[in-house]
Each structure stands twice: as C-alpha cells, then as structure tokens.
C-alpha cells in the first residue's frame, strides 16, 4: 500500500477506520481473538466462517470522494455496511467525525443517521407504497419534521435531481435511472455531511450509467459532501474518485489516487485492472510533467496542470517545443514535451516501461 497520505489541501478526517474486521458465522469473535489479528480467510472458511472485511484501516477527509472498488465478494459492500453500521463490525474501531461509531447505542445511532448520513442503494430501496415525493420526504418525516416543511424540502430535492413533474409517480412507474434519482434525492433530503453510495449505478444500462455519473459529478460539484462510493466498475472508479481503495478478499490491496494506481500498481492483482486502462483518459498533465527546466524556453501553448491528457494531447502533439504547464493561478509549474505524451499514449500498454 503506497500512499495512505491525504492529498494536499484535504480537510480533516471525517471517517477513520482502524483495523476493521467483519467475519460472518458463529463464534466469529472468538476465532478472531485466537488468531490475534492475522486472519487467513481460507483457514476461516474451513471452520465455516466467511471473512468479509480483513484488517482494513483508512481515513476519509472532509469533501473527499473515496471509491471502494472490488469484484463481487471482495467485501466492499460489507465494509460500507460496517461504516454505516447496517452491520456491526466484528472488531476494530470506526470513528465518524471523532465519534466512536461502535460505541453508540441504538438511539444515538438513529440520531446520527437522521442528521449526518445519507445512503444510496444498488437496487434503489424505494418504498413501493409511497410516491416519489413521499419517498424523498420520508427521512424528514421519521425525524419529526412537519408535513408542510418536509414536502417543501422534498420538492427542492425533486428539482435538484431533475424529476420535476414526476413527484406524484410511484417508483414502479419510473425507469431505473429515474428511480435512482429518487434514491439520491432521498439520501440528500436531510442534508447529510457524509454520503454513502453502494453501487448506485450498477443496476443501470451503460448509457444511463454514464448520464448518472455526470449528474453525480455535477451534484458533488455543488454539494461538496464527504463521500464513500462503492463500485465494481474500475472505469467508474477512475472517473469519479479522488482516491480509490481496491479490495480483494476483504483486504485493501491499494489505496491511492487514480493516477498513482494506474502508474504504480502496488500488486499484481491491481496491475491486471490497470493494464487495459487507456492512460490518456485517466492521467492528468500534472502526473507526467517534468519539473521546470530553466535552460529551455517553452512554447506559447499553456495547459492547465489538472487537465486530462486526452483533452490536450492533440494540441501538445502539434507543438515542436516544450509546453508550459500552469496551475489555476496561471503560474508555470512544469513542462511537457510532445514525445512524453506520445509515450503515454502508445508506450504504456505493454506494461514493461514502468517508468512512464
């Protein structure tokens, strides 16, 4: 696991996990104690226990979007359920805004969920007997907000997710994409600080999925929540994440920024995910630029450092000279030569030139 450090400029840790274990089966706690923290999932399986989450520690910072990526059975959803306490972790500590989550009693937990957490589910989890509006207003109503107030707030949410005019529809009358919009609106109705999304777009068709991802990025641009996002789709993870945690058999294989994961896969397992990823679509100029070299004079073209390479490649390739890379304040922070871009575009597929 390479970088556990937060990216520069990130806020304080909102969620902190310390050695979280989740083991299913009878007598799981005892078995875990006996194994003194070193869990071999195969040995446990022989004893009739299934290891869901195995010694996971990480932090999520304020306003950060952490994607937990893994194939089915990797324990990613279980981890999310531990952090939302839909299931209780077998061992370990989970802190949410400094609060010891596992020490909360039932009442405090409900209070926390009513004020701080929102969650979106893979199969939407909409209440079939309630209309769109009633579904969205539901978390407010269980909190005890008046009908008038909650309906008003729910209407704002309907507008936010672009379902105007459908507030009196029932979930069964909506398409999958629209249903998930309702799920998103409902999870945001109480203005939570922390937003959990459990494979929110996996049940949708590819085109709709793309549309919903754009929608999600737009919402996140407006709202700036702290987000835990679970997916089995590596492309989706790359597209959305500030950082990605890749899980396998309950263990976090690597936790890093998308660029670092693509450039420096920590394990063979991670590398197999990254090998088919078109790098120009993932990497930003920043991650491949050279430091400013005073001896050479850059050309006139200036590219922003957080631009995706694909979007500026054509322009850079047309330049003879090095291109200046600038930060948002238009200061030159590095340079990039077209030969370097060519290497990113065509050189990385074999996986041999780790030095890209």
């Amino acid at each position: 696991m390479s970088s556990q450090e937060p990216p520069a400029g990130a806020g304080q840790a909102i969620i902190r996990c310390e050695s979280v274990y989740k083991i299913f089966g009878n007598n799981a706690g005892q078995m875990l104690m006996d194994s003194e923290g070193v869990v071999d999932s195969r040995k446990f399986l022989e004893a009739g226990l299934v290891v869901g989450v195995n010694d996971v520690s990480f932090e999520v910072h304020e306003g950060e979007l952490l994607v937990i990526m893994g194939l089915s059975g990797s324990g990613k959803s279980t981890l999310l359920r531990c952090i939302s306490r839909l299931t209780d972790a077998t061992a370990g500590k989970i802190y949410v805004e400094g609060l010891d989550l596992l020490a909360l009693n039932h009442r405090q937990l409900i209070e926390l969920r009513r004020s701080k957490m929102g969650m979106v589910f893979q199969n939407f989890g909409l209440l079939p007997h309630k209309t769109v509006l009633e579904n969205i207003a539901f978390p407010l109503q269980v909190k005890g907000v008046s009908t008038r107030e909650s309906v008003k707030r729910a209407m704002e949410m309907v507008h936010l997710v672009g379902l105007d005019g459908r507030e009196n529809y029932f979930p069964r009358e909506l398409s999958g994409g629209q249903q998930q919009r309702v799920g998103i609106a409902r999870s945001l109705a109480v203005e939570p600080d922390i937003w959990f999304l459990d494979e929110p777009f996996s049940a949708l068709d590819p085109l709709i999925r793309k549309e919903m991802q754009d929608e999600f990025l737009r919402l996140q641009g407006v709202l700036g929540k702290t987000i835990l996002f679970v997916t089995h789709d590596f492309d989706e993870a790359l597209r959305l994440a500030d950082r990605i945690a890749i899980m396998k058999d309950g263990i976090v294989e690597q936790l890093d920024t998308p660029a670092n994961i693509v450039l420096n896969p920590a394990t063979e397992y991670v590398r197999r995910f990254t090998e088919d990823v078109p790098r120009e679509k993932v990497l930003r100029v920043e991650s491949v630029m050279d430091p400013v070299d005073a001896s050479e004079v850059p050309g006139d073209l200036r590219v922003p450092k957080d631009a995706i390479i694909e979007s500026v490649a054509e322009e850079i390739l047309g330049q003879e000279k090095q291109v200046a890379v600038v930060d948002p304040d238009d200061r030159v922070v590095g340079t990039l030569h077209s030969s370097h871009v060519l290497k990113v575009l065509f050189g990385g597929r074999t996986g041999k030139d780790g030095e890209t």
Binding site: F124, L127, T147, N168
Partner: protein
Amino acid sequence: MSFLAKHPKIVQFAFLLAAFFLLCLSISPSETNYLWRLPPLLKQLPGIINDSVRYLMFDWMPINVYDPIIEDYEEKPLFREMTRTVSGTFLFVINFVREIFLGGNKTVVAFTSWDFVNEYPWARWPALPWTVITGWAIILGYKLQGRGLAVLAGVCTMFIAIFGQWKPSMETLSFVLIAAPVSVILGLLLGIWAYKSRFVEATLNPLLNVAQTMPHYSYLVPVIVLFGVGDHAAAIATIVFATPPMVRLTLLGLKKVPADVMESGMMSGCNGWQMMFRVLIPTARRDILIGVNQVVMQCLAMTVIAAFIGAQGLGSNLLIALNSLRIGTGIEIGVCIVLIAVVLDKMSLAWANKQTDYFADLSFVQRHRYALMALAVFLAGSVLAFIGSFLFREGFNYLYIVPHNKGITTAPFWQTTVDWIWDTFFYTLKGFNEFLITSILVPMRDMYLGMPVAATFLLMMGTGYILAGFRSALIIGGFLLFIALSEYWDRALITAYMASFSVIVSAVLGIILGSLCAQSTIASRMILLVCDFLQTFPSFIYLIPVIMLFGITDTSVIIATIVYATVPATRYTVEGLRSVPPVLHDAGSMLGVSRLQRWISIELPLAFPHIMLGVNQTVIFALFMVIIGAFIGTTDLGQLILKAISDPQGTGVGLTLGLCVAFIGLAVDQMIRTWANERKKALDMN
C-alpha cells in the same frame, strides 16, 4: 430397460405396490391381529383432554372475587373468570354493533339493568333505517373505489332489504365486523412476533399447520366448553379459525421485504416502531392484504358453521332451512351470504389500495364531503322512515325496516323448480345416484376398509419415502400412528375414501380445465376470476344445489366436495402453466412442436410441481367439505365430530377427531409439498 434405469422411482413404486397387495392378501382380518388393526392405545386421550380442561376451568388457581350479589368475596377459578371476562366483552361489543344496525336495549342494559329498561321502555337504541345503511354502503363504496363499487354495494344492500333478509344479514354483518378486525390484529401481531423471533416462528409453525387443517367443526367443541354458547362463542371460534392465514401471510410478506428497502429505512433513521409500521408493513402490504381478505372470507365461511354454537343471523336460518329441506329459502339466504362476502371482499381490497393526496388544497366542504353526504343520507333516511310511519299506518313500515321474511321472496319459484327437476329427472338422477353408490362408492369404501393397517402404513410411508425422502416418511408414519392408535381408524378410512375419490375427480377436472384455459390469456384471466368468485362462497353454500338435485345422500356430499375442490386444482394449473417462461414457448415453436406436444413435453413437466401444490390444496379442501358433509348425514369422522358438539363430554372426542382429520391432511401435505418444492428448485421454477 433404459427407461427403467432412467426412472428408478417408477421401479421403486412398482415394488411398493406389489408389496402392498401382498400384505393386503396375506393379512387376515381379525380383532386380535395387530397387523390388521392396531389396538386403540390412545383410547384414553379424549378422557384425559376432558379432565384437563375441566381441571383448568373449575379447579385451577382459585382466586377471590368480589360478588356483588352475595356482597362477599367468593373463591372462583382464575381461568373461568378469564374466559368469562372475554365472553362478556365480546358479547357486549357484538351487541353494541348489532344494535347500531338493528336497534335494541342490550347496550343500555349493560350500563344499567334489566329493571331499568323494563321501567322505562324509551331506553332503547333505535335501529337505523335500511335506507340509511344502503346509502352509507353506496357512499363508502364510492369513496373507496368509485362508481363500480358504489353500484355493487347499493345493489347488494337493496337486494338484502327487498328480499326480507335484512335482520339476519345485519346480525351476520355485526358478527363479522367484530371477528374480522380482531383476527386481523391478532394475526398481524403474531406474524410480527414470529418475524422478530425465530423461536416463536418455529413454535408457531406446527400449530398453524394443525390449525389450518383441522375441520371447522372441531373448533366448536372446546369453544363451547370454555366460552359457552352464543354469538360470543361463535365469534371466538371464528377468530381461532380465521387468524392462522393472517399470521402466515404477515410473516411471508415481512420476510419478502427486500434487504435494500430495509436498509434504506434504517439509513433514513427509522426507530424500531417506524421501521415496522412505516417501512416493513407497508412494503409487505400486498401479502398482508391478501391475509385480510382471507380473514374476511373465513369469517363468512364460518357464519354457517358458527350457527351450530348459537351465532344468530343468516347462518342459523340457512341451517334451519336446509334441515327442513326448504331449498328455496336456503338459496335466498345463500345468495345473501355470498353478496355480503363479495361486497366485504371488494371493500377491504379497495380500502387497502387507497392513496392519499398531499397536494390537494381543499376547502372544508370538499375535505369532509363524504362525512357530510353520510349525514345528509342519515337525515333523509330518518325523514323517509318518519313519513313511512304515516304511509304504512297498518302493518310494517317498509321505509324503516323490512321485517324478516316479509319482503319479496322467490322461494316458491325455487321450490317449484326443485319439484320440477325431481319430477322430470327423477329416474335419471336416481339412476345416476344408485349407479355411483353401488358401483363405485360402496366397492371403493369396502376396499379401503379391507386394507390391513400394516399395508396402509407401507403404502403411505413408502410413497412418502420415494417422493420426499426418509424424513418425510417418518413424519407421515407419525401422523398415521396417531390415527391408528385412536379408536377412529375405520372412520378415518371412510373419510379418506370420500376425500380421495373427490380429489381424484377434482384433480383430473381441474387439470383439464386449467390446461384448456391456460392456452389463451383471456380465458386464463376469466377462469381465475371465476375461481376468485367461487372461493368467496362459504363452503356450506355448495351443499344447497346438490341437496336440491340428489337429496340427502353420500352422492350429494361427494359432488359438493368435487365442485368445491376443483377450484384450487384449476387455479394452480392455470398459474403453473402460465408461469412457464415464454422463451421456452418460443424455443418450442422454433423446434416445430405442435400445441399438444408443447403441452405434454414442455409446459406440463415444468408446471407439474405447482400443479401438485394445487392438488395438495384440493386434498385440504376436500377434507373440509367431506367433514362439513356430515351435516347431511355421512358416516365418517365428521359425523362423530358433529355429535361431539352436542355432548357435554365432547371436548376430548371432538379435538381428537379434529386432529385425526388434520393429520390425514398434513400427511399428504408433507409428501406433496416436500416433493414439489424440491422439484421446483431442480427445475428453477420458483
């Protein structure tokens, strides 16, 4: 040879049959031969049950109760005080509702005394004019669903009024209006409890199984002992009978709630209460509603049977009419019961499907328009009744209440029809009747009675083993052993013969009918509607037309049973065939199979497990009906149960007999259900 190798079960079954017949031939009938009949070791059971119940009622846990009459404390057994309190409460509530419809002074008496009422004759509750109740039913129907239900409700209530069945109908209705809600609430609570605790579920499950296969009559006997005779006892028996399906369906519905929905409720911050009543139960609504519906239907089915222990209303009138062979009156009463059942059925469904509109910004009049309409109807009806008191100065005020049997009646017409049928078809019917009895029923019955007990065990347990495995065979053996050790083995064989004859005919009829209808979408929908409609008929109603045609004979019972039991067989066949994935139809068509080939080689094998579940239902239905048939004089277990009702020592006998019937049903159920579920899993047809 390869056929036999491929179907080892057929070989096993052939060996089983061979062994069965060998046993039948080799065991000689004699009282002392235990292979022929087991000794009645459980003979003492009814007595033991009686004694325990008596101990519970009269001796257990005496407590001091203040008696206002002798102005002193008196020692009374706790349990009896409890049942008395329950009886009193029920009686009061039933009378209260009844007097809202029909007027009376019992509610006033409950708060004062008979002396008070006798002294002041004005102290009685006036009846609502029938016009008001009709109007209310129409408004309610309109509010719940719209014009269709309003018309249905109006037509039904008017029919009841015009045909002079108003009073007994309202009596029945008041009884259902108490029994049904209590059953629903009780069933809902038990269902929730079972959902919350696995232990409760495991305990409740066998109890529910027995409760749902015990014949209706058997509930009556212990209820008489514990609660006496009357409307309250009938209501309690009905509740005991109607609650199990509600528990079942509540549990089923709650278990089916998707994990996503449950988790979304938790993440919305629901506490336990909100979780149950705002997330789980509404999401499980469909199943719970079917439960409510079943409860209403069971309550109406019990109205006639409950009349045996003193429920007033249509049921007791029907019994009297049938006893004196007044078929015309019987038909009219039967129609009234069916009409009430249909209206309540539709209303309960519509009520549950109703949605609220949050956006409507309504004025006071709009918001309360139904209440205001109801009030207007009440005033108009009262004025009408008042005017009526001048119009019909002599005789009855028809605008107030149509007195019992003073309305229009079609009884003479029906009576003439029956007479005509008898005159015209007497020899045909008699011939058919005699043929059926002498050539089929009696030989079949003798065959059943000629089976040695060892052979029966071998056949049943062997079939159970082949179909459902060793465990099922043992369970079936246990059920049979209970019956064999009781005194009632021979009677049970007679019940079994009548039921199995009906089941075979019903299953064949149902499967053919269902298969024909399943060929077309429209026909399927039609036949399912017909099945729905027939299932709203209380079982007793089926006896009316057969008595009309065949008089009081075994034939009548068997034909009524066949008609009644064909309904589930047909329904399950249609459902099973329709649930065969359409892609298999397409695949079959592209392979060039004909319709018949498709039916035989694709649809039937896939739908067969579901069809067998239908046959399973058919068995239970047939058993119920055969037992009810005891009312018109059969000589099986049912007759003894019926006798037990009027016997002060009947509790033990009645319960033991009820258990015998239930165990026959459960043995078959165990066999078929286990097999069908495994088969369904193997075919991936869930």
